[in-house]
């Protein structure tokens, strides 16, 4: 009825999605001049991204730096205003609501930040950090009840509830990330946007936090948008995965579709570049080496944005922008004119 987003969502569970993002665009203006700022161009950080998120599902978003994945997270948190597009949360456009309705909406989408060292105020106790959302959303927890709630949250994320009066510096990186998760859970959201939640952590601690996120998802029926550049972590936690390049979604599918049957050349190159923790794989790995760097999002290539680094690029790629649609070779959508299956990881 509303939009034809059906063909861009990949294989998915049936039913109405919790969140439906349609053609989301964010351009940051580049200006010149001091007094009379003249717009001379735009950084096309997010340029037409559509996806759906279902209840209890994890959607992984992967891509390299500058592909727009963090801007996407900020848009969904309404920390940035989109240039165009909409995001329907339970039938309501999150970019159209305001006032008390906006406040209620914000409770539903919370975020876990990347760096547990800078995302917690060093002068606040853990209790104040986790309880701060209740100051704004007073209806969630009445004043007398807050301490108990915060202690419950600490326990839920595997921290000692007695440490409620400690400061962030008294915790390790992994524990701080747990505090960040507890803060995100305070308002009982349905969706949590995790922006690189484990990339600042050591390997042995990473696994603990991933396990916690999965446990919480099971217990609280949460939906995650899991943004990361570590492809093996994303595969482990995600039900579906979207691959982004220069502000566009180039391929979407279930984790098996993306990792075992990728059809977009960028996905294939990305997967093949991931070092495999197995020395024997060195010799018989199919490695695709991309040349050059990601072009500037202020001046993306015409047609297909990946064509400047693609080994398959032809005349057509520079003229016609490939749409994210199903391409015959496999039932999941891929934004490549010449999509074909190529297995790159065993």
């Amino acid at each position: 009825m509303a939009h034809s987003a059906e063909n861009v969502s990949g294989a998915r569970p049936a039913g109405e999605p919790l969140l439906r993002v349609e053609n989301l665009v964010k351009h940051f203006p580049i200006t010149q001049g001091i007094l009379f700022k003249k717009k001379v161009g735009a950084v096309k950080a997010v340029d037409g991204v559509s996806f759906e998120l279902h209840r209890g599902e994890t959607l992984g978003i992967v891509g390299e730096s500058g592909c727009g994945k963090s801007t996407l997270a900020k848009l969904l948190m309404r920390l940035e205003t989109p240039t165009a597009g909409r995001a329907m949360l339970k039938g309501k456009d999150i970019f159209k609501v305001s006032g008390s309705e906006l406040r209620r909406m914000r409770r539903n989408i919370q975020m876990v930040m990347q760096d547990p060292y800078t995302s917690l105020n060093p002068r606040m106790t853990v209790g104040d950090i986790i309880g701060e959302p209740y100051e704004i959303h007073t209806e969630v927890a009445p004043k007398g009840d807050r301490q108990r709630r915060v202690q419950e949250l600490l326990e839920l994320v595997g921290l000692n509830p007695e440490h409620i009066n400690r400061y962030p510096h008294q915790f390790s990186g992994g524990q701080r990330q747990r505090i960040g998760i507890a803060r995100a859970l305070a308002l009982k959201p349905e969706i949590i946007v995790c922006d690189e939640p484990v990339s600042a952590l050591d390997v042995s601690i990473q696994a603990q936090v991933i396990n916690l996120l999965e446990k919480l998802q099971g217990e609280l029926d949460l939906s995650y948008i899991f943004i990361a550049h570590d492809l093996s972590v994303v595969r482990h936690i995600s039900d579906r995965v979207g691959v982004m390049y220069l502000g566009k979604m180039v391929e979407v599918g279930t984790d098996a579709e993306i990792y075992e049957r990728p059809t977009h050349p960028y996905t294939q190159a990305l997967l093949s570049a991931v070092p495999v923790p197995d020395p024997d794989a060195r010799t018989h790995r199919d490695v695709i080496r991309l040349v050059g760097d990601v072009p500037s999002p202020a001046n993306p290539p015409s047609g297909c944005r990946f064509r400047t680094r693609c080994w398959k690029a032809q005349e057509r790629c520079s003229v016609e922008e490939p749409l994210l649609i199903r391409r015959g070779v496999d039932p999941h959508p891929s934004a490549c004119h010449f999509a074909e299956l190529r297995q790159v990881v065993g």
């Binding site: 730096s65 390997v203 042995s204 595969r235 990305l270 570049a273 923790p277 020395p279 080496r289 760097d293």
Partner: protein, 346 residues
């Protein structure tokens, strides 16, 4: 150009029974701080031969970078202090050398590249000037000669259009290209040993793959010894010949890379390998190493890993395990290394 002031013989150094190119012997480093003494390196020994890659693997605080800084002689002393040990380069102890003589080794014989290329480069000088700086001051080249050599070096590290870009500033380069500039700088004096401290941690996977390829090619072509310091088990499996795993300032396991990945002989190595998400770990809880790395001001008694070890027995809490020789150049600092290998411990 690479004539040696520090060595009496110029015969190539052979591995195995002979003398090694670089040998760290029973090194101790401690930091004297207001809160007490932190013993960050506790008897580290490793060696490196020409043309080989030694990976030093460990989490933050394990002492992997401090060891490298001790080799380079760039530790801040005080607060750091080296109470014991030797660092032999071609048989001569660097730690016993007068500073003047040591300067001849630093950068010329042993060179280093750092993790964050943007902060390691000077933003107000063109890259060519920075690459050629050591050539002017140490090799006595004229400005013009040095700049020509800088272009050659930039070609060597595969920076496209080197001649045109030699006068560009660091901010005009992408992350991967900046890291190439760093490598070119490190190679300026034809070093025999290159220490790469997390060279690709700040880079995207596709760029990481390019840089690791480059380092591998250079090592082979120039017959350098490469010490790769990293926390990434995937990168290690891809490029290393031998691997030294560090924990709390000790090398807990040292072996040929294949052996380590197939049959870890130390519970910490095993824990690390188990905590990476793999294809078959989907939908299951990841194995974790419980707890946190130790505080080096107050290290645990006995084996430093025992509070986190799933096999810990009473002997582990009282006796510090010695490095146990398991044959084929393989060592493990675990009381139960043999049992781990023959599988009777699990």
């Amino acid at each position: 150009m690479t004539d040696i002031h520090v060595s009496s013989s110029s015969s190539p150094v052979v591995g195995g029974g002979g003398r090694h190119l670089l040998e760290v012997k029973d090194l101790y480093v401690e930091f004297h701080t207001r809160d007490g003494v932190a013993r960050v390196i506790n008897g580290v020994s490793y060696h490196l031969d020409p043309g080989e890659t030694l990976a030093v693997l460990g989490e933050s605080g394990s002492g992997k970078s401090v060891t490298a800084q001790a080799i380079m002689g760039i530790l801040d002393m005080p607060p750091a202090k080296i109470p014991g040990g030797q660092i032999l380069y071609k048989g001569e102890n660097l730690l016993a050398m007068p500073e003047e003589k040591r300067r001849q080794v630093r950068g010329k014989e042993i060179s280093m590249i750092f993790q964050d290329a943007l902060s390691a480069l000077n933003p107000v000088f063109p890259v060519g000037w920075q690459i050629s700086e050591t050539l002017r001051t140490r090799a006595g080249m004229s400005k013009k000669e040095a700049l020509n050599r800088a272009v050659e070096l930039m070609d060597l590290v595969k920076i496209p259009a080197a001649r045109a870009r030699v006068k560009d500033y660091p901010h005009q380069f992408s992350g991967g290209m900046r890291q190439r500039v760093m490598i070119a700088m490190a190679l300026a004096m034809d070093p025999k040993v290159l220490i790469a401290d997390e060279p690709t941690t700040a880079l995207d996977v596709t760029v990481q793959a390019q840089i690791m390829d480059l380092l591998g090619d250079l090592r082979r072509d120039l017959n350098m010894g490469l010490i790769l310091i990293t926390h990434d088990l995937g990168v290690v499996a891809d490029v290393a010949d031998r691997i030294a795993v560090m924990y709390a300032g000790r090398i807990v396991e040292h072996a040929d890379v294949r052996n380590v990945y197939k049959h870890p002989a130390h519970p910490y190595t095993e824990g690390l390998l188990d905590s990476i998400p793999r294809l078959d770990s989907k939908g299951t809880e990841l194995a974790t190493i419980k707890g946190l790395p130790p505080n080096l001001m107050r290290p645990p008694t006995g084996c430093a890993f025992h509070p986190r070890c799933k096999y810990a027995k009473s002997v582990c809490t009282t006796e510090t395990p010695l490095s146990l020789d398991l044959g084929h150049g393989r060592t493990s600092a675990c009381h139960f290394a043999k049992e781990m290998l023959d599988g009777t411990l699990r």
